[in-house]
């Protein structure tokens, strides 16, 4: 695979990753579930969002390290 095709493929992978994380943040499938308080008296879905944001940060860090070129 040529370099430009590699970059296109990489871009697509990261694009799908970020779109996937965005879709997870919508999480319409959990909206009507009963409230369950967990750690610090916060509902489970709040902790899910904390986790989602940490995942997003890791994804951006990986993107910055492996895909984001200084001459982009």
């Amino acid at each position: 695979m040529s370099l430009s095709k590699n970059r296109s493929f990489g871009g697509m992978v990261y694009g799908l990753l970020f779109v996937g994380l965005f879709v997870l943040s919508l999480d319409y499938w959990t909206w009507n579930r009963p409230i369950e308080l967990r750690l610090l008296g916060l509902p489970f879905w709040v902790w899910k969002f904390v986790g989602l944001q940490l995942l997003l940060t890791l994804a951006i860090a990986a993107f910055a390290k492996f895909y984001w070129k200084n001459d982009a």
Partner: protein, 478 residues
């Protein structure tokens, strides 16, 4: 007395830092307005977040936590973190172009890349129209804060004026160098003091877990996914998630910060940290707002927006309340100084120099910028004199107004000159929808249940796509 002493010490420290900044600042526009494009990763990160997290973060988040509950944290936290992606496809390109071509303001970049003065001026007009009310939020918040903190000792408008005057002095003296240095201090203070506020207030109720359980017993809807009063539904949630991605890079004070990075590494570091911070910072004021129901039930409107200073005044000793509220003061100051500098720069280069005095010397350009900084601060105070009922509602109008610029900015950066007329049309149509919503002619029922940003983006991108395809077709025919 302790309150006045702590506030005084904080302002003294701020002024000291601004003087250090002024010594580094030379009287060229690039140096005064952009700190010579030499800001390293740590200062760059703090100046981004301190600028972005304002009165809206301290008072608005706590107020929204009180009124809506924890979904507000999730929406703002993830939405803001996701907006970090725009630092790559908008911010980094802006940075490179700025270094290459010497751009200092957003309209300058837009106008030169697109070859369209009309587009540049339209962009300029939108920035001015929406920054002025948003700029006024900071003295409004500061006025409320100081009045509450001193139990009326410093009246609302007196506090607003005092803070504005102080900020004008240090921005005037040191430009972006002063602003960036004070942002580091203000950013650190915001984090530390907001964390301290949660720990101390929750401690009064037996700890964070106990406090949340007590609120849950009273108002379980604050813990539901949709929030109190069913505030969020699926479409509103989606709309808000999209909004932050597209409006954050368009704030003039943030857009101009894309120009100041020293190198690519600084830019990337800032992007990563910007995504990380909301996950643990944003929940803090929301938590205080939620806990507010234990001490101040049934607050509405402006009263609810003041839940943070109310809780501090009730539950912490005077000195601690004053100390924590300097974090809030820091938030106001770090945003107002950047907004004044951004608009002052824009008026100086994109209005005065462009239309009244094209032969303006570099040194005089800085003086003109300083003049506009003073003038704009007075306009902001005039707006703050009769403040609106809800800080959040005012901020959100500005955010949507800025977001209208996103499709055209993206198009100008990536599609070249021919797209300019369609960018102009996209902004006119977009801002017309914003106006129609503001005037009550359109509501979410007319917009298929979404907030205005969703149909605005769909229509704007469609217009630009039509333009792009049309030009491709023209090029093929010739």
């Amino acid at each position: 007395m302790m309150t006045y002493l702590i506030i005084g010490l904080y302002l003294f420290l701020t002024f000291g830092l601004s003087l250090i900044g002024s010594k580094r600042s030379h009287q060229t526009p690039e140096d005064y307005f952009l700190a010579g494009r030499g800001i390293g990763p740590l200062v760059l990160f703090f100046t981004f977040i301190a600028t972005n997290f304002s009165a809206f973060f301290f008072l608005g988040f706590a107020g929204a936590g009180y009124k809506i509950g924890y979904p507000f944290y999730a929406m703002m936290g993830f939405g803001t973190a996701f907006a970090a992606l725009s630092f790559y496809f908008i911010g980094f390109k802006v940075w490179k172009l700025g270094k290459e071509k010497g751009y200092i303001t957003p309209p300058e970049l837009i106008g030169d890349l697109s070859g369209s003065s009309l587009l540049a001026n339209l962009h300029l007009l939108v920035l001015i129209v929406f920054t002025l009310p948003y700029l006024a939020l900071q003295p409004i918040g500061a006025g409320y804060l100081l009045e509450s903190l001193t139990n009326g000792g410093i009246p609302y408008f007196g506090g607003a004026s005092l803070l504005t005057l102080f900020i004008v002095i240090y921005v005037f003296v040191g430009g972006m160098q002063s602003v960036a240095l004070t942002d580091v201090k203000q950013g650190i203070l915001m984090f530390v003091l907001m964390f301290l506020a949660v720990v101390v207030i929750a401690g009064k109720f037996g700890g964070i877990t106990a406090a949340n359980e007590q609120v849950y017993a009273l108002k379980p809807e604050l813990f539901s996914r949709e929030g109190a009063g069913g505030f969020f539904n699926g479409k509103k949630w989606f709309s808000n998630m999209i909004l932050w991605l597209v409006c954050v890079p368009m704030f003039p004070q943030l857009f101009m910060r894309f120009f100041v990075s020293k190198d690519a590494r600084s830019f990337k570091t800032t992007t990563i940290l910007y995504a990380l911070i909301p996950s643990f910072l944003f929940i803090l004021p929301v938590m205080i707002g939620v806990m507010g129901h234990l001490s101040f039930p049934d607050l509405v409107g402006k009263e609810a927006d003041q839940i943070l200073p109310k809780m501090l005044s009730l539950h912490t000793p005077e000195w601690m309340a004053a100390l924590i509220m300097t974090g809030a003061l820091a938030a106001f100051m770090s945003t107002l100084d950047s907004q004044l500098l951004a608009l002052g720069t824009i008026f100086s280069r994109d209005v005065y120099r462009k239309y009244f005095n094209p032969n303006l010397s570099l040194a005089k350009e800085v003086r003109v910028g300083q003049f506009f900084i003073v003038l704009l601060s007075l306009v902001g105070l005039l707006i703050a004199y009769n403040p609106p009922d809800s800080i959040f509602a005012l901020a959100k109008q500005a955010f949507t107004g800025y977001a209208v610029l996103f499709p055209s900015t993206l198009a100008v950066l990536y599609l070249g000159r021919n797209i300019a007329p369609f960018c102009v049309l996209s902004i006119i149509v977009g801002e017309s929808i914003v106006l129609a919503v503001f005037m009550g002619w359109l509501n979410t029922e007319h917009l298929w249940g979404f907030d205005p940003i969703v149909p605005i983006l769909l229509i704007s991108f469609f217009i630009i796509l039509v333009g792009f395809l049309w030009h491709k077709l023209q090029a093929k025919q010739y």
